[in-house]
Every structure is written in C-alpha cells, then in structure tokens.
C-alpha cells in the first residue's frame, strides 16, 4: 500500500511540472497587462511604466520568466504579488484559513444533512418524504447559486429581524461584527448564511447521488442475506448498505475537496468573505501572474492528492479493492 502511495505521489511531480508550464504559457499568451492601472492614469509617465515593468521582470522573454518562477517555486518561493508587492505566500496565508473555515463547515453540514436524507429517501422510495426530497433536490440543483445567496440576504438580513435585539436575524456580510473577531458565537452567526448558500447545491447533489446508489445497493443479494440472518433494519442499512452505497459519494467529495483551497467565488463575493475564491478572481482580473500561478499549482496538487485519498478510501470501504 505504501509503495502504491509513493508511486502515485512520484507520478504527480512530472504532472505538476507540465501543468505549471502549460498554465504559465497560457497566462503569458492571453491578452492583458498587470500594469493596466498605471497605463490608465495620465499622470504616470511612460518611462515610469516601462521601468516598473522591467523591475517586475515583465519584459523578460518567456523562458526567462518561467525558469525564474519555477526556480523559486521548487524552493517554496512563489514570488511577490504584482499588485501589492507582498510575498504570494503571505497573500495566500491570510486568505486560506477563511476559506477552510467556510468550505469545511459547509462540507460537514452537507454530509450531516445529505447522508440521513439520502438514505431515508432511498429506503422510503416513492413515499411523500421521497417526493418532497426529490423536488427540493431538483430545486437546489437548478437554482442559480448567486440568486439563492441574494434571496437569503433579502429574507434573513433585510426582511427578518431578531426580536431580542431589533437587528437583522443574520448578518449580510463579513466574518465577524466590528470588534468581535475573537467572539466564537459571533463568527458562527456570520457563517450561517454563506454556509446555507454553499450547502443548497451540495446537499441537493449529494442527496441525489446517495439515493441512487443506495437504491442500487438495497436491491442486492447481500442486503437480503443480512436481513435473512435477522440483522436489524438499522444494521442492514447503515452497516451493510451504506458502506457500499457511499462509494460514489467518496468520488464526489474527492472532486469537491480542492475547493478548500480554490474557494467559493460566488459565496465569498455575496457575503463579503475574504477567501481564496476572491483572491483568485481579483488576481485574474488584474493579471497578477505570481498569485494566479501559486493558486493554480496548489489547487492542482490538491486535486491529485484528493484523488489519491478517494482511491484509498475506496479500498477502505470495499475490501475487494486492493492496491499494490
């Protein structure tokens, strides 16, 4: 098993190198200029702009720029942001914890809701409960997420008030109220709406996947055998059926896990959450290549790692799968 993991990790290295070269080339080839803001200001002289472009290495030929970047990256130095002048690592270190909190909370809430609901929906196929869940799941899949976020603000921030304080029921933006950054309750209160927005789609997808997979598993022989042996319904469903039915869910989690690094742009934008999604988007708009490259590379690495984790989880859930 450990040999397999090492081999997979070893294979990832040349893959990441190819990804870095391709992405760097694409960024260079796409139109746009990180110094556009200076170009727009008529009080900045062309000499100043050229000097700054030279200082930031933007006028160097492509191979020089790429090798300089790659040389730094292998040593863990991703350079400095072209916009702020600060190390890229600092920019990311400031944003990453915010995104981790948001995305992991949303993941946890999603699983807490989707697993029991998906299972119950499959067990009681075509019941009223199943129909309601199915209808809600289709809604969750089809409602544009940004629209749902705005709706949440309209209802829970603008519309409804907290009867005790008279203020909004839930805040519309930010991670905490003024001066309360160390207050856990205040932070949780600020998490409610953004997490609800993220979960609206995730719960819908996860529930549908789990329902479909459970339906398939529940009709299989080993489930009937378990029942025939007199196992309780609870044991049959959660120990025997769910363990097999959850396999597609692992694939989904494996695919969604890199969001912990890449962030959730719409949610972060609507709820003023200073996370990785917004950092990436702003960097793309402003052609901040060093920040873009770092985020793309970390996200790529995370995709490879989470795929590996998903594969390992398959083996754990299904003993028939063996890696050598």
């Amino acid at each position: 098993m450990s040999g397999y993991v090492l081999r997979r990790l070893g294979e990832a290295i040349p893959l990441l190198a190819i990804v870095s070269l391709l992405v760097f080339a694409l960024l260079q080839a796409s139109p746009g200029n990180p110094l556009a803001q200076l170009e727009r200001d008529p009080t900045v002289s062309q000499d100043d702009i050229r000097r700054i472009a030279e200082q930031r290495g933007l006028l160097d030929p492509f191979p020089v720029q790429y090798l300089r970047w790659a040389g730094g990256a292998v040593r863990g130095d991703f350079g400095e942001s072209l916009q702020t002048g600060r190390p890229v690592a600092t920019e990311i270190a400031e944003r990453l914890p915010n995104t981790v909190v948001l995305v992991l909370t949303a993941f946890a809430v999603t699983l807490l809701i989707a697993i029991p609901v998906g299972v119950a929906s499959a067990v009681r196929q075509y019941s009223v409960f199943d129909h309601v869940v199915t209808a809600l799941a289709f809604m969750g899949q089809s409602i544009p997420i940004f629209w749902f976020g705005l709706l949440l603000i309209l209802v829970f921030y603008v519309g409804l008030s907290n009867p005790l304080t008279g203020g909004a029921l839930f805040p519309a933006g930010g991670m905490y109220s003024s001066g309360l950054q160390a207050d856990l309750a205040n932070r949780l209160w600020h998490l409610v709406l953004p997490v609800a927005m993220l979960c609206s789609t995730w719960v819908a997808w996860y529930t549908r996947f789990l329902r479909a997979s459970m339906l398939e598993v529940l009709s299989q022989d080993f489930v009937r055998t378990a029942r025939a042996k007199g196992a309780s319904e609870r044991v049959v469903i959660y120990r025997h059926a769910l363990k097999n039915g959850a396999l597609p869910l692992i694939t989904l989690i494996g695919l969604d896990l890199p969001m912990i690094f890449s962030g959730a742009l719409f949610t972060e934008t609507i709820f003023a959450w200073p996370g990785m999604g917004r950092l990436f988007y702003q960097s793309a708009l402003r052609r901040d290549y060093p920040v873009l490259m770092a985020i793309v590379m970390f996200t790529s690495a995370l995709i490879l790692i989470s795929n590996l984790l998903a594969d390992l989880a398959y083996a754990w859930f299904d003993p028939r799968i063996k890696y050598t």
Partner: protein, 556 residues
C-alpha cells in the same frame, strides 16, 4: 452701564460659539462600504483610485482642493502665491511655508525634512515609485529651515500646487527610497491625518482610530472609521438600507431608486472628472509609424462630424442614463478651466448629407460604400468597430444605442468590448490602444483640477504612440494640429489661470471642429450616506475622506 452692553454681546457670542461646538457630537464609528480592498497604503506605489479614498484619512498633502475647486492649506501654512512670496522666479521657485507644531501620529514632529524626503522618495524610480515622472521636473528641493521648503523647477511647472497631492511621507517611519517596495509603511503607515491605522485585515476591513495627536483641537469628532470590503453591490446596498453602514462608496446608478425609497439615506452627487468619450483613430489601423496614412474612413473630418451629428445625446442622457450623467462637449468641463463650446446636436439629416458629400453612398444592403471618398478605395464598406471595456453596463448600452443610430445612417458598427487589463494594456504587450489597431475606443478618462498633463498627453502631436517613441503618450486618436501643440505648450508655461483658460478654450474650439474625440457625457456619481453622518460632502476634486475630520454622527 455703558460697559455691560459689549460684555453681554461678548458672552452671547461665546455662548453661541460653544453651542456650535457642542452641536457636533463626539464619538461613534462611521462604517464605510467599499467594493475592493487597497493593494498598498503607500500612495507613491500605486495609482489605484481606491487608495485615495482611504489613505487621506492618514496621510495629508500640503494643500487640498475644496469642492469649489479652490486650494486651501492643509500641512502648509498658506497656499503659495506670487503675492505672499511663495511663487518667484516666474513660477520656477516655489516656497512652501509649513504649519508649526504638527506631529506625526507617533509623536515625532513634522518638519520640512519630511517634505524633502517625500520628493526624494517619489523621484527614486529604482525603489518602485510610480510617481517618479511627476517629480522629474524638480531641479532642487531644500529645507531652508524646519518649516520652510524651497522647490526649484527646471522650467515652470503648471502643476506645482499639486506636487505633493498624494501626501507627505515621514522620513523616520519609512525607509530607504531605493527600497520603497519593501517598506513596512505600505501596510502600517504613520501619518499626520486625523486618524491612525489600527488594523488592516486583507480583503475584509480597515479599522482606524482617532489620532489623539491631531493638530486641530477637538477633531476629529468620530472615534473611528471602519472601511468594510464588500464586493457585491447588492449586499452593500442592503447594508445601507439596514443602517449597518453610514457610507457606500460609488453606488451604481441603477441604485438611485433604492436611495429614494430608503429613509435616512441620501445620494450625495457631485460632477465627476470622468468624461465618457470616443477616441476616433485618425491614422491607418495598426501602423504606428511616423507618417502613417490617414484612416480610410475616420481620416476625413466630414465623416467624424457626421458621426457626432448621428448621436442622439438627449436619448442617451435622459432616457438611457435617466439623467444621471451630464452632457460633455470638450476636455474642459469643470472648475476654473471650464469652456463653453457649441455642442453637436442630433441631426441625422445633416449627418447623411455630410456622408454623401464625403463620398460614401448608400449601398443596396443599407450600408454605405465608398464612391470617391478621399482615403478609401471605391467599394470600401463604411464599417467601424467600437471597443470599450466590459463590466460597465451603461458604457455597453451607450455603445449599442450609438451603433444602432449610426446603423440608420448606413454605418455598420460592431461593438467589441474587452477587459480593462486588455484595453489599457501597454506597448510591450502590443495593446490595440497603443498600436492603433482599432477604429474607435470608448472609455472614460478625465483631468483633475489641473488639466495640463492630461490634455497634453491626449492631444499633443508628440504624444502619438509610435514605434519611434516605443508607444509613449496618450494621443490615441493620432491627431496632429500645430496650433493645438502651440497652445498646449503655451498653457504649460503660463502661470496665470486666465491666460491658461483662454488657451484651453481655443483648443476646445479646435477639437470641437476637427473631432479627434467625441465627447459623450460626464458622470455625476457620488456616494450614498446616512443622513445622520453630518458634514459628509462628496467632492469633485478629492477622495471620499477629504474632510473626514469634520464628520460627526448625530444620535439616532
């Protein structure tokens, strides 16, 4: 008895004065919503507009410009003029006399050495300053004593009063000018302004507290400021409606009805310096060389005039923009340099006859073709492309309306907008604006209180971006007029404002006649604010916090 009268009057006056002071309540924090975060707090390391909405609460210039366009002293004791001896040697020597007793927020005295340092740091391009060009004309800068600075210019510089507009830097709290880009000051500035930085959480908020060392007794009235970064306009407006914030920076024009329906919130508008205009490419497309041929269509002034006459300005301003913008006619729309020129009015009949006259005959498919046009081969279609930038709804709608109106005249217009980072690209990435690979550019730009540099860049023939000057300059219309060159140079070396205005107005007339640019409208944006935030005023000439020391919060 006779002496009691004056005493009584004096007491009354004192009581009234006290009342006026008491009327301004102290305390409270004003929350300001802004769409994006700052990249740096060093105004010499960025040109981002957002920076100058926030940083002037911390860093101050020597003089400021009030909403009426008049200069007033801030860190200077007086505005230098020939009368007070501040301007000598035909405007080439400026003497700044500074206020005494001013301290930096860390208690260090502010002296003329800080002003000298600011000029040195700004001019040190190797350190990463983006303002080196603006300080390049200074021959010498000397601290004559602790509170007097003498600036000598190589030649008269019309923008001498704006020289330190980005704020004065403290020598003791910054670093080596040659290493400006690595100064800790960019994240933790020390200033003389009414507030001090307490915390800056990237992408989230900037928190400021009252500067207890501020020189004006009793000011600022507020305890603090909190700038929240809220990217979604919908969320920002909801927070204003809920009363969770007192100011919303730059609300979009579509929110006007929201403010009308929200009690206690007002939109404070002021004309903006930004004028939406079209840059017509007078030169051959994509051939940025000396002596390039004229543009086959736009090279003919009659076609340009037809384009101007083919725009229904009233439709755009009153219907499309719902009166939220003001008609613009020239590069000189505001302040002391405002010029009145005869504006073009929508006249499709005259536009059509001008096109006929210019050798563009209506084709079978409704698009005109060249038949004896001076610069286009017969049979060339009258087709133009129009390039603006994306994510700006009103600009896009304006382009589409104009394209439609021109279509009625037999002009085929295609709108191709690009991202800002593409439109405002540089020579090194062969941006279309620089190489002339376009027919018409549409975007907003504008001059501040001192328009000289701006109009010189846009209109002087030496500022046409070409291979020979490696794309330097902003004369994207590639227009050359010797009389305008002379007038721009004259205005640049003339200290008298009346004489300068006269030169500018003659330029405005020539531009209006020859039309290298078509002026569409000037924005009348502003900021939404809670009415209980007293003394809040949007200024055409300065950023959001220009008078933040005077803001105070009335009790709800």
């Amino acid at each position: 008895m006779a002496r009691i009268g004056p005493r009584l009057v004096l007491m009354l006056v004192l009581l009234l004065g006290l009342g006026a002071v008491l009327a301004q309540q102290r305390g409270g924090t004003a929350t300001i919503l802004m769409p994006e975060d700052l990249a740096t707090m060093n105004p010499y390391a960025t040109t981002a507009l957002i920076t100058m909405q926030v940083v002037p609460a911390l860093l101050e210039p020597l003089v400021g410009v009030d909403p009426d366009g008049a200069y007033y002293p801030i860190l200077a004791r007086e505005v230098p003029t020939p009368a007070n001896g501040g301007v000598a040697d035909e405007g080439r020597t400026i003497t700044w006399r500074l206020k005494e007793g001013v301290t930096w927020s860390d208690g260090t005295p502010f002296t003329s050495d800080d002003v000298v340092f600011t000029a040195e740091a700004a001019a040190a391009g190797e350190g990463g300053s983006v303002r080196a060009g603006a300080f390049g004309g200074i021959a010498s800068i000397t601290a004559l004593d602790d509170y007097t600075v003498e600036v000598r210019y190589q030649e008269y510089d019309a923008s001498y009063l704006d020289q330190f507009q980005w704020g004065i830097l403290p020598r003791h709290a910054t670093g080596d000018p040659a290493a400006m880009s690595s100064w800790g000051f960019a994240r933790a500035p020390v200033g003389t302004g009414p507030f001090v930085l307490e915390a800056w959480r990237t992408g989230d908020r900037i928190v400021m507290a009252r500067n207890e060392a501020f020189r004006e007794d009793g000011k600022p009235y507020l305890d603090g400021l909190e700038f929240l970064v809220v990217p979604s306009e919908e969320t920002r407006s909801a927070m204003m409606q809920r009363g969770d914030a007192q100011v919303m920076l730059w609300p979009g024009p579509q929110l006007r009805t929201v403010w009308e329906e929200t009690p206690g919130v007002t939109l404070d508008s002021a004309p903006e310096i930004w004028v939406l205009r079209m840059f017509l490419n007078l030169g051959e497309r994509g051939n940025p060389t000396e002596g390039q041929a004229p543009h086959p269509i736009l090279g003919d002034v009659r076609v340009r005039q037809a384009l101007a006459l083919g725009i229904d300005y009233d439709l755009i301003i009153d219907e499309l923009a719902e009166g939220r913008v003001l008609r613009a006619r020239s590069p000189f729309e505001l302040g002391w340099y405002r010029c009145d020129v005869d504006a073009y009015a929508y006249d499709p009949g005259r536009a059509a006859s001008l096109l006929d006259e210019a050798g563009w005959a209506m084709g079978d498919d409704g698009v005109r073709v060249a038949q004896g046009a001076p610069y286009a081969a017969d049979g060339t279609r009258l087709a133009l492309d129009m390039t603006g930038y994306t994510d700006f709804r009103l600009l896009e709608q304006t382009e589409l309306v104009i394209a439609d109106l021109w279509g009625d005249l037999g002009i085929e217009t295609s709108v191709r907008n690009v991202e800002q980072s593409v439109l405002f690209g540089g020579w090194s990435d062969r941006a279309a604006r620089k190489t002339g690979e376009f027919d018409i550019l549409v975007y907003d730009t504008g001059a501040g209180i001192n328009p000289q540099l701006h109009v010189f860049e846009l209109l002087h023939s030496s500022r046409i971006p070409r291979e020979q000057n490696e794309g330097a300059g902003g004369n994207y219309a590639r227009w050359s007029n010797p009389r305008v060159d002379d007038l721009l140079e004259l205005a640049g070396r003339t200290p008298g404002l009346d004489e300068r205005r006269e030169a500018y107005c003659e330029i405005a007339e020539i531009v209006n006649e020859e039309l290298p640019h078509l002026y569409l409208y000037q924005f009348a944006g502003g900021n939404a604010y809670a009415e209980r935030l007293e003394n809040f005023h949007t200024s055409t000439w300065a950023g959001l916090v220009w008078n933040v020391a005077d803001w105070w919060l009335a009790t709800e």
